[in-house]
Symmetry: C2
Subunit: 317 residues, 2 copies
């Protein structure tokens, strides 16, 4: 029996209404050269231009705004060193509530600064998952804050779904919608929007070969543990949760993998030809297309460029 509560279309619609005034409706870009190289018409949804630099702000905003006043008063909390932390910090500030962020001591300076610039409380911990969870538990106990998981969260998934919704509203029919997959929040939301807005549009997730646990889970039908993921796409190191895996098994058509070289090549292609900054994780769908030209040729493809928080001091090319 499936006891997991899966977001319905009405939940996505409500999320979009709730966050519409807070998020950027990001533009959809096309690039003649990339179309010529791949033989497709690709529509890039530029979430690298989203507030706090990534689509994560959609889900974080929806989770924060969905809290009732009594709960909201105690603030929100999460453990993350990445885009979700900054997104939650900004979303909390927008509602004038506290955000408590647990970060590993090893988090890069630029990520700390982003989070603290939005006025969040930061606690540092050792960089193991155990230490993070322990530190988070302590923060939640002390403050009464609501834990907002980066993807294993109903409201977060509904928020992430609004990116594909806007994309499809802009482009009309697409043959394929592609997003990268890490924990599966964006992928789950995207699949829900595509299933409810289109007929026959395939949802294909893209994952680094060096962090292919979602792909293995999808192929085997059993949630697989990550095997020492090691990829330049550092936003995709996380693993599916039972919630996101349930949605993905039901609605996603395929998960394809790309090697590190292709990811870096795709990232550089986007920088050089589109003149926009995307982080490595955002380039994984294009990398999959570059590795499999014949599989994709001749299609109208939507890709969500997930974020633009690249470290300019450590470029992979």
């Amino acid at each position: 029996m499936d006891l997991i509560k899966i977001p319905q279309w009405k939940d996505v619609l409500r999320a979009h209404e709730r966050i519409g005034g807070w998020i950027h409706r990001t533009p959809v870009f096309t690039c003649r050269t990339i179309n010529d190289i791949t033989g497709n018409r690709i529509f890039f949804k530029c979430e690298n231009f989203q507030k706090a630099g990534a689509f994560k702000f959609r889900g974080a905003s929806n989770a924060v705004l969905a809290l009732d006043n009594a709960l909201a008063e105690n603030g929100v909390a999460t453990h993350s060193s990445g885009n979700h932390a900054a997104a939650l910090a900004l979303a909390a500030r927008n509602r004038s509530i506290r955000a408590h962020i647990v970060m590993p001591e090893t988090a890069p300076r630029v990520k700390r600064e982003a989070v603290s610039s939005y006025g969040a409380d930061i606690s540092f911990c050792a960089s193991t998952l155990e230490a993070r969870e322990c530190a988070l538990e302590e923060v939640v106990k002390r403050t009464g804050a609501t834990f907002v998981h980066p993807y294993d969260n109903f409201d977060v998934i509904c928020g992430q779904a609004t990116a594909a919704k806007e994309l499809l509203e802009n482009t009309g029919h697409l043959d394929v919608v592609m997003v990268p997959v890490g924990g599966g929040g964006l992928l789950s939301g995207t699949a829900i929007s595509v299933v409810n807005m289109t007929q026959g549009t395939r949802v294909i997730a893209a994952e680094p070969k060096n962090a292919d646990d979602a792909c293995r889970s999808f192929k085997t039908g059993v949630l697989q543990p990550p095997l020492k993921p090691n990829t330049v796409a550092d936003g995709l190191l996380t693993s599916l949760s039972s919630l996101t895996f349930g949605i993905i098994r039901r609605y996603v058509n395929d998960i394809s993998c790309a090697g590190e070289e292709s990811i870096i090549k795709a990232m550089r292609l986007i920088w050089e030809r589109m003149k926009i900054i995307v982080e490595p994780s955002a380039a994984v769908p294009l990398a999959v297309i570059l590795e499999n030209p014949r599989l994709f040729r001749g299609n109208r493809i939507g890709i969500i460029l997930t974020g633009g928080n690249a470290d300019l001091d450590n470029l992979p090319f």
Copy 2:
């Protein structure tokens, strides 16, 4: 007696009609963080997204499309290692005529490739101005091609004027419009559009301190030679012509300079906060604002981000 024929507003309108179907109407971006840092409302016209990666495609297209058929048959020619060469090559290809480009042997591989990818004939010469002009003369004599100067050209200036025209159409009233100045083609065109479309809007050019000949010419009223320009803003090494200087003296309010450190800082700010790629020259107006915060505070400012052809293998930061 002023014998120089200065473009009139009707010439700009005709240029815009002529090139409208060939150019991108580039978007105007704003950035909350940069507004907060500078205390202004800044509207960035994103010519880094223009075809061939820079505003130069506007002027080159207008010059190519303005040729009568008999002249056009013999093609066009120029000497340049930069954005004008690629822009002219693409504009010529769009009209299915030849482009003959004289480039110094020292031109970076990426620039050669851009020009040859548009199907232009490239001749190489030594990297002195004399060698370039000599090689160009030979090409023109041999082919009958029309020389399209990167800025000392009536039609080129009319084409460049369309960027500010679109900017003002999008933003409504602006207190200040800022562009970088090298040879003065964009600045001349911008000034003509601003004078004809607005009342009381100031045009302020931005120049690297290390290549300040336009500023010195403007202050002294006499065309000054460049003094060994040496700046990261490699698109701004050229000098005003009598045509551009004549227009600039008449219509431009001021020329301000920025140091190398500010230019690099402004460039990085645009990359990190706006998530877009601009070349160093494009960052000079913001650098001037960063160096003179009190001079600008509280204004609605339009800036033309001139191009996005940055060398990713040689970033200045």
